[in-house]
């Protein structure tokens, strides 16, 4: 094939022929190409984080009615690079009594667990790191390794606040993994495969239209898994001081920071793959490099929404967070799975009737959930202010809306 239609495949084939021409056996040349590709992908992801940090700081600044960084380089674009150089040369202060292996392994495993997800993402029609047939479960399993990294860091720091914060963080991660995994069942059902590549190819219509409730649950739980606002309790300054990374300085702390931003973008990529159609878009099949552009644009929009949420909402208390996960998101996800399973089987042929009924059922479910939330809130207000009903004030008075005179 031509260089212009698909530069990636062309390059891979050319390199393969070159190596075989030099006398390298075919298996070794494939191995060398895999090694090179993996290295480029990993380095690329880590360097991409610099751009993400700049994007977030600029956008957060604008939301807060100020410029973001704007001194170093045009629009402050070299700022993250300067920060990186600074953090590279800071002293590594190792406190007394730490357990060296867990303490040092924690940040490394944190970054590795996030990077490992990039190996299975389908970037274009032809560019997939590893086309696993169980990619969806692989992504969840790698999240489990990330939890272990948190435990290692918290325990290795020899600091009881770090340990407490690590356990709180793990409790939050565990609680939000349940609705995440249940919501993942819906794209798997609709596409009939556990492979991310097949899920992208199966989306003639993006699944966010067929399963908006599952998409919403997935988005919210992923934000909680990353630990961004409004779910960043374990990093709050007034709680448990900076969480499980209290005793880390210099680049080890920098690695947690990198892992945080990279994870936030990785979940945006996952959302784009699972619900927005991945690399699909105009001309993505004829010119696969355009697929890369569509993919990153979609992920960029989702990342922007994540930053928007971060700068807009106050953070949740730990009991509110747990209540949201177990009492709202898990039943919602389970109901979404049951509804999708029933409707998609009762109307098996693809078409406007199936799309319409799935969409209607999802909207009905969302409506019921909001009704339940409103009724629950009214019940809570009545419990807190029991006299308000008896003395003739309406519940709305307490929430500050309509007024009615007392009797």
């Amino acid at each position: 094939m031509d260089f212009w239609t698909d530069p990636y495949l062309f390059l891979v084939n050319w390199l393969q022929e070159l190596l075989v021409g030099w006398g390298v056996p075919a298996a070794t040349s494939a191995f060398l190409l895999m090694l090179t590709g993996a290295f480029i992908l990993a380095m690329g992801a880590m360097l991409f984080v610099l751009g993400l940090i700049w994007f977030e700081r600029k956008i957060a600044g604008r939301f807060q009615d100020r410029f973001g960084p704007n001194r170093i380089g045009p629009w402050g674009i070299i700022q993250p690079l300067a920060d990186m150089l600074k953090i590279f040369t800071k002293e590594h202060i190792t406190p007394d009594g730490v357990d060296l292996v867990p303490y040092n392994l924690g940040p490394v495993l944190s970054v590795a667990a996030v990077l490992a997800v990039w190996a299975v993402l389908p970037f274009t029609l032809s560019l997939v790191g590893a086309d696993l047939d169980v990619s969806v479960l692989y992504v969840v399993a790698i999240g489990g390794l990330g939890e272990i990294a948190v435990v290692l860091s918290g325990w290795g720091s020899n600091n009881k606040y770090a340990l407490l914060a690590a356990f709180r963080s793990v409790a939050q991660l565990l609680s939000y993994e349940v609705p995440l995994v249940i919501a993942l069942l819906v794209p798997v059902m609709l596409s009939g495969s556990l492979s991310l590549n097949d899920i992208v190819r199966g989306q003639t219509l993006p699944y966010v239209i067929l399963a908006p409730v599952a998409a919403f649950v997935f988005f919210l739980t992923s934000i909680a898994e990353v630990g961004r606002s409004p779910f960043d309790l374990t990093e709050a300054e007034s709680e448990l001081v900076a969480g499980f990374n209290i005793e880390y300085s210099g680049l080890k702390f920098g690695m947690f920071y990198v892992a945080d931003f990279l994870h936030a973008f990785t979940i945006s990529l996952l959302f784009a793959v699972l619900f927005l159609g991945g690399w699909q878009g105009p001309y993505a099949v004829q010119y696969p490099m355009l697929g890369l552009l569509w993919f990153f644009l979609k992920a960029g929009v989702v990342y922007f929404i994540g930053v928007w949420m971060r700068v807009s909402f106050p953070r949740f208390r730990i009991d509110q967070m747990m209540a949201i996960s177990w009492k709202l998101l898990t039943p919602l996800a389970i109901a979404a799975v049951i509804l999708t399973a029933l409707i998609a089987k009762l109307i098996p042929t693809d078409g406007i009737l199936r799309t319409g009924s799935l969409l209607a059922a999802n909207l009905l479910l969302a409506g019921c959930a909001m009704l339940a939330l409103i009724l629950n809130r009214k019940k809570k207000i009545l419990k807190e202010f029991p006299l308000s009903a008896a003395s003739g004030f309406s519940v709305k008075d307490v929430t500050g809306k309509t007024q009615r005179s007392a009797q």
């Binding site: 895999m34 590709g37 993996a38 992908l41 990993a42 590279f88 800071k90 002293e91 590594h92 202060i93 190792t94 406190p95 007394d96 009594g97 940040p107 490394v108 495993l109 970054v111 590795a112 990077l115 490992a116 190996a119 790191g129 590893a130 696993l132 720091s157 020899n158 600091n159 009881k160 606040y161 340990l163 407490l164 793990v170 409790a171 565990l174 349940v178 995994v181 249940i182 069942l185 798997v188 059902m189 009939g192 495969s193 556990l194 001081v241 005793e247 210099g250 680049l251 080890k252 690695m255 747990m322 209540a323 177990w326 009492k327 898990t330 039943p331 399973a341 029933l342 089987k345 009762l346």
Partner: protein
Amino acid sequence: MTAWTYIGIFLAIALALPAAAIFISWLLGPKKPDPIKRSVYECGIETVGDTWVQFKAQYYIFGLVFLVFDVETVFLFPWAAAYNQLTLFMVLEAILFILILVAGLLYAWRKGALEWV
């Protein structure tokens, strides 16, 4: 098999890159250990006694409920992957499976196992 080979290579590189970066940074940084710098952080006060933590049982209960629901969902993944080839009866079977576990969730909810104490 080549897919898993790639995963193995990628995991090795993903572990090696941050480790190499941290190593380079350790080489480049100043090394001036000092007893105050090396003391454990306790909001600015000296630590008294050994560092230990009394742990709430609630963490364990959350972990356990999570385990049960994780197992349930992983049982459902093969069913979901085979969804397009299933009959309505098989879908109802799996919905029965889910409903039994919803009953368990309701029990946990009513008993207060899902409260954060």
